[in-house]
């Protein structure tokens, strides 16, 4: 099949469209790419440009080696699943599934065959003669996916297809979608603002903000090695602790503690320290990087307690750190000592927000 390439895609602002500044991506066959970002980041606009529903102001879209930037949507052989499903309300499920094929003058027998195949796959056999109005939300969602699959498209585009489902169903369908699209062997682009979906489904995640790609990586690297402050803050729940700290020679000052910096070429006057709450633990005697602080809020998340701690010695500009701690202990107004394991600490430039790396490169994870 073919790989999908976006080259310096740009869409300037119009009243109805969220702008995209500069996006370059490649999605290979068999790759499942998620466009992840908060609302207003341009992820939907990007998807719509891929589909041909919007045209870029600058930049190119390539499929295989063909430039399809200005091709009409119907000629791109892409299939798309919409957030609202966008099923044709006056057509039966069968007609909904078959409509794209009919337009392409697919032989009748072929249409029947493919609709049958897809409806078996998705468990829609009994619903074929119903109209969308008579279906439940989950069924409609499956029809929407089916309408895309039937097309046997060169690229599949999914625009937040799970967001209208309730939480329970969403998890099940998520798993289904992963399985189904894994068998399609073509590029899949998936837009979501839900990091869990992005992490679980994708082979590759592009985190978008303000119309730029912030990081394009595998889910694991996105999580473990966020490329900048935005990715660090956006991915992961509860959110990563991000503390702006002053630096002294090769230490960052956090309250009473001094956190040693890796060997940077130059030491900036200020630096942002990032550490995920799940990586913060109660200090053991052998821990070297520790901080002390006062517990002021405990939120029970079931599996863990999310404990907010005000760092001792940061009275001038109060800093707090949140830690995910085992639920078997109760905390209240206690002063505790927390460990910040050095391998889990991320450093970011205060101004650019980019991750700072020591001169020794990190081992690949």
């Amino acid at each position: 099949m073919a790989k999908l390439e976006l080259k310096n895609l740009n869409k300037t602002y119009t009243p109805k469209v969220i702008p995209v500044k500069d996006i370059s991506l490649t999605v290979d066959d068999n790759q499942f790419l998620s466009l992840l970002g908060p609302s207003g980041c341009g992820k939907s606009t990007t998807l719509r440009m891929i589909a041909g529903l919007e045209e870029p102001t600058h930049g190119r879209i390539l499929l295989g080696n063909e430039d399809i930037t200005f091709k009409r949507p119907g000629d791109r052989n892409m299939a798309m699943v919409f957030q609202s499903y966008a099923l044709y309300p006056h057509m039966t499920v069968y007609e909904n599934l078959a409509s794209g094929l009919k337009l392409k003058k697919t032989p009748h027998a072929e249409i029947q065959h493919r609709v049958k195949e897809v409806s078996q796959l998705l468990g829609l056999e009994d619903l074929l003669h119903r109209k969308p109005g008579q279906l439940s939300g989950g069924q409609r969602q499956r029809v929407a996916v089916g309408r895309a699959l039937v097309r046997r498209a060169q690229v599949y585009l999914l625009d937040e297809p799970l967001s209208n489902l309730d939480a329970l169903l969403r998890e099940r369908v998520r798993a289904d979608i992963k399985q189904i699209f894994a068998t399609q062997k073509v590029p899949v682009v998936y837009v979501t603002h839900d990091q869990t979906e992005a992490m679980t489904l994708s082979t590759k995640v592009a985190v978008l903000n303000n119309g730029y790609v912030q990081q394009l990586d595998s889910p694991a690297r996105i999580y473990n090695h966020p490329a900048n402050l935005f990715v660090a803050g956006f991915v992961g729940s509860p959110q990563m602790n991000l503390l702006t700290l002053p630096c002294q020679t090769n230490y960052a000052v956090l309250g009473d503690s001094k956190i040693p910096l890796p060997d940077f070429p130059t030491v900036p006057p200020q630096i942002v320290l990032g550490i995920r709450p799940e990586n913060v633990r109660i200090a053991q005697p052998e821990d070297q990087q520790t901080i002390r602080g006062q517990v002021y809020l405990v939120e029970n998340l079931g599996m863990h307690n999310l404990v907010s701690v005000r760092v001792t010695g940061s009275d001038a500009a109060p800093l707090s750190v949140r830690a995910l701690l085992p639920p078997d202990q109760s905390w209240s107004d206690e002063e505790i000592t927390l460990a910040l394991p050095p391998q889990n600490v991320h450093w970011f430039d205060v101004h650019s927000g980019d991750a700072l790396h020591s001169t020794h490169s990190y081992p690949a994870s």
Binding site: G52, E54, E55, D67, T69, F70, K71, R72, D75
Partner: protein, 302 residues
Amino acid sequence: MTNLQTIRHREQQTAWIFLLPALLLLLFVFGYPIARAFWLSLFTQNLGTQLQPVFSGLDNYLRMAGDGRFWQSFWTTIILTISTVSLEILLGLGIALVLNQQFFCRGVVRTIAILPWALPTALIALAWAWIFNDQFGVANDILLRLGLIKTGINWLGEPTLALIALIFADVWKTTPFVSILLLAGLQSISSDLYEAHAIDGATSWQSFYKITLPLLMPQILIAILFRFAQAFGVFDLVAVMTGGGPGGATEVVSLYIYSTVMRYLDFGYGSALVVVTFLLLIAGVAIASFLLNKSRLSKGNT
């Protein structure tokens, strides 16, 4: 399809392909006749010129200035327009308020209330001419029975009475239109506002003045705009009910234009009349829409 044709470009093309037939037809039926009237109004084309157009500059407009019949019909039109529109707004508002209440059989009453608007004006004009008939008309009969008059009134034979009869018939015919527009406006006013206002201790009348009327203003102005244009160009009701009579007392401008063209074959002068009516109408519409915009803006600010 080349790459030069962008999506937006294609969208534009499709848009114009979709618009073009409708726009051409509109230009043909609305644009051409008006433009043609402007052109033809500079010519004398009547029986005196064997129906051939002869250029005569602004002669037609000069003639209009001294044409007593034109001025008479103009004032008749103004009187008719102002009285019918104001009566219809008042009555239409009342009816809309009634129709907006919850009551048994509301659907049926609403159906009845829009009936007059839907019926053919020409036929309704015949009905009203019969109602106001001087000898056997039911209007006289009712007034006689109520003891309000001693002998039958020749409604359509007296200039003033004929105008009153016309106004009555027009109010009957077009009030439903106003009611429908105002009803839609009433329905869009959230009942929360009334409840909040009532909790503040306001009476019904107060909430009518403080909430209903201001929030309904855009609809009222739209209704005035539409009704002004319709009343200004009214033809069928007057043509059938009084024919402009008695003695031209109920002749409105549109009737005069029609006679000038279709009876007197005075095409040039008729065109000048069309031009002047058109300009007056546009002026009226401009004023009304200016007020409308103003009220919309002020509504947006509060």
